[in-house]
């Protein structure tokens, strides 16, 4: 896998030299690979927002490096500027940043700043609007007449219109209802597939990232304690709960089952995986795993099932869950 965006020993200290000095990130080595769908999870104050603000040069490292396509993004002004067009950042509650008179103008702000000609700007605005499911009529409306969910789409389209090769979204579904959440996530997935873009989804909702991403990076206390495929990360259920991260409900239930003496792999995180694991254990599923009740905590070969259900869940972008585990 080719790294597209990396940090090397990235350290960021806020208010250095004052009594409020606070290290938000300490020696962080972070990698995003080209074309992957990456989730970044961490509780409020973990440093995850500080980390992503370094990815397109909004914050400058106190020490260490941020590299885009192998080159330090701070090596020249031109390089920094170019990175900002290539790494699109959608903030939390981006709808508060809308300012133009029409939706069209708002979405076109980014591509215009890139110095593109009118025809190209128009193409990008329409395509970005289509990605997020905004109708042609909506383009002529004032963004302030739209509902909260629609405004959020406009804001996301504004970043997509710059056609970044890396799209970073900070809590893009916060405050939306389940239908709104699914629809925004599927818009992002469409962009990911159509452009083979790298997506970095920042969230504190484990349930959501678990269903969505290829790989997870956990940020805690300015460091990265875990990274890997979701099921590898969720196997650390107890530690994640201690960090104040919500572990998916299915993972919690399976950990309880294990504590009751049932020999079952607790690294499930979706309802479908849980169903398949239970059915398999009852010899009812498609895969007969030779598992027994009340084992000595011995790991049974459940990997096959997970790979199968991962594929069912449309995560076929995961070339190899195993290989990407440890960095």
């Amino acid at each position: 896998m080719e790294a597209i965006l990396e940090t090397h020993k990235l350290t960021h200290v806020y208010s250095a030299g004052t009594p409020f000095e606070h290290a938000a990130l300490t020696d962080v080595d972070f990698t995003a690979y080209r074309g992957e769908y990456l989730g970044v999870i961490g509780r409020t104050g973990s440093g995850k927002s500080t980390l992503i603000q370094h990815l397109n040069g909004l914050l400058k490292p106190t020490s260490g490096q941020v590299r885009f396509e192998g080159r330090d993004i701070w090596e020249s002004k031109a390089r920094t500027r170019q990175t900002r067009f290539q790494v699109g950042l959608v903030f939390q509650y981006p709808e508060y940043q809308l300012f133009e008179e029409t939706v069209y103008q708002d979405i076109s702000f980014g591509p215009r700043n890139m110095g593109l000609d009118e025809g190209e700007v128009d193409r990008r605005v329409r395509q970005a609007a289509a990605f997020v499911g905004l109708s042609e009529q909506a383009l002529e409306q004032s963004p302030f007449e739209l509902s909260g969910g629609q405004k959020r789409r406009v804001a996301i389209a504004g970043v997509i219109a710059m056609e970044p090769s890396v799209l970073v979204l900070d809590e893009p579904t916060a405050g939306l209802d389940p239908v709104g959440v699914e629809s925004i996530l599927s818009n992002i997935r469409d962009y990911h597939r159509a452009k083979n873009a790298t997506i970095i989804l920042v969230s504190h909702s484990m349930d959501q990232v678990a269903r969505t991403v290829d790989r997870l990076v956990v940020v805690e206390n300015g460091r990265i304690p875990f990274t890997g495929a979701p099921r590898e990360v969720f196997a650390h259920g107890a530690e994640l709960a201690r960090m104040g991260l919500g572990v998916p409900a299915m993972t919690r239930v399976f950990h309880r089952l294990r504590a009751m003496g049932v020999d079952i792999d607790p690294s499930v995180y979706t309802v479908e995986q849980a169903r398949d694991a239970i059915l398999a254990k009852l010899d009812r599923g498609p895969h007969k795993a030779g598992q027994r009740l009340c084992g000595e905590g011995k790991k049974e070969p459940a990997d096959m099932e997970f790979s199968a259900s991962l594929a069912e869940n449309g995560m076929e972008h995961t070339p190899s869950d195993e290989g990407k585990g440890a960095e």
Binding site: R43, T44, G45, S147, G148, G149, A174, G175, L176, D177, P178, V179, G180, H204, S205, D207, G244, L245, G246, P248, A249, M250, R252, V253, F254, R256, L257, M260, G261, V262, V271, E272, A274, R275, I278, L279, K281, L282, R284, R292, L293, C294
Partner: protein, 292 residues
């Protein structure tokens, strides 16, 4: 049961629109909320749940039907102050609800406006901050608090008015899991220990599951009303109105679809694990007793 503190009768509400075509948001809602109960109102965006909440302390007035707060018609302007004293409201965004630069001053804001004497204000503010577990932060600046802490300060500000009922409109939507848990604990304690009636508007299934009673809204009407355990068993129905059920119940529902005999009311992690345990040990027949 006690008297209803909030009662809506054939409540209809439509927002006026520019073209003069009224948009009907509430289409005949009949609801009685008993004093001292904890009621969750669940619905997707646009279901009318927030509009319903705003009728509960006369922020909005019905365009048809009526709403009574402790017997007072909310359309009666002369009773507005009494209505607002009876039912307090907490909104989604904590940043929009905090007005002062010091936590305790913020909490004192409402009782000051109500003309409560200073020593009584002091007492109420301290008590309210203790109830939401923010007393030690009383001299802090609100903008430096976490989302969950800010929301608890907002709740304290409402409690300081000593309302008998609190309506919370998606109070945790902008919070992380820790903040959500803090706010939910606070709400539960208020209901159980202080007997405050709680109406929680939410789209989080796990929060709705904590209530005594769950009201589901769709298309401006009440489509289900009952104990969460009972309502969540109506899996298909809830799906048809754009809602899901907690994952624990989804799993059991899927297993039922596969022809297995499992209960559909195992709501908590513990109950779900127990049901699965029974299922697995029953099949294996290795003599697992119910050791819990």
């Amino acid at each position: 049961m006690d008297q209803a503190i909030i009662k809506t009768k054939d409540l209809r509400f439509s927002y006026p629109s520019e073209e003069g075509v009224a948009l009907l948001v509430l289409d005949g809602v009949n609801l009685e909320i008993q004093q001292g109960s904890f009621v969750a109102v669940l619905g997707h965006n646009g279901s009318g749940k927030s509009t319903l909440a705003k009728h509960m302390n006369a922020i909005l007035l019905p365009t048809g039907g009526a709403v009574y707060v402790d017997g007072m018609d909310t359309a009666d302007e002369a009773r507005l102050l009494d209505i607002r004293r009876t039912v307090g409201m907490v909104f989604q965004n904590p940043d929009n609800q905090i007005v002062a630069n010091v936590v305790e001053e913020d909490v004192a804001f409402a009782p000051e406006n109500l003309g409560v004497p200073p020593e009584e204000i002091r007492r109420r503010v301290d008590e309210a901050l203790r109830q939401v577990d923010m007393y030690e932060y009383r001299e802090h600046a609100p903008h430096l608090l976490s989302g969950g802490q800010k929301q608890r300060v907002a709740i304290a500000g409402v409690i300081a008015m000593r309302p008998r009922c609190i309506v919370l409109d998606e109070p945790t939507a902008m919070l992380d899991p820790i903040g959500r848990a803090e706010v939910l604990r606070t709400i539960q304690a208020l209901n159980r220990e202080s007997g405050v009636t709680v109406v929680l508007i939410t789209h989080h299934m796990d929060e709705a599951a904590q209530a005594d009673r769950l009201v589901v809204m769709a298309g401006g009407r009440i489509v289900a009303d009952g104990a969460p355990r009972a309502v969540f068993q109506r899996v298909e129905e809830l799906k048809s109105v754009g809602l899901t059920v907690p994952e624990t119940i989804q799993l059991l529902w899927h297993l039922r679809q596969a022809g297995l005999d499992v209960p559909l009311d195992a709501l908590s992690d513990e109950e779900c694990a127990q049901a699965l345990f029974q299922l697995l040990s029953g099949k294996e027949g290795k003599g697992f007793g119910s050791d819990s």
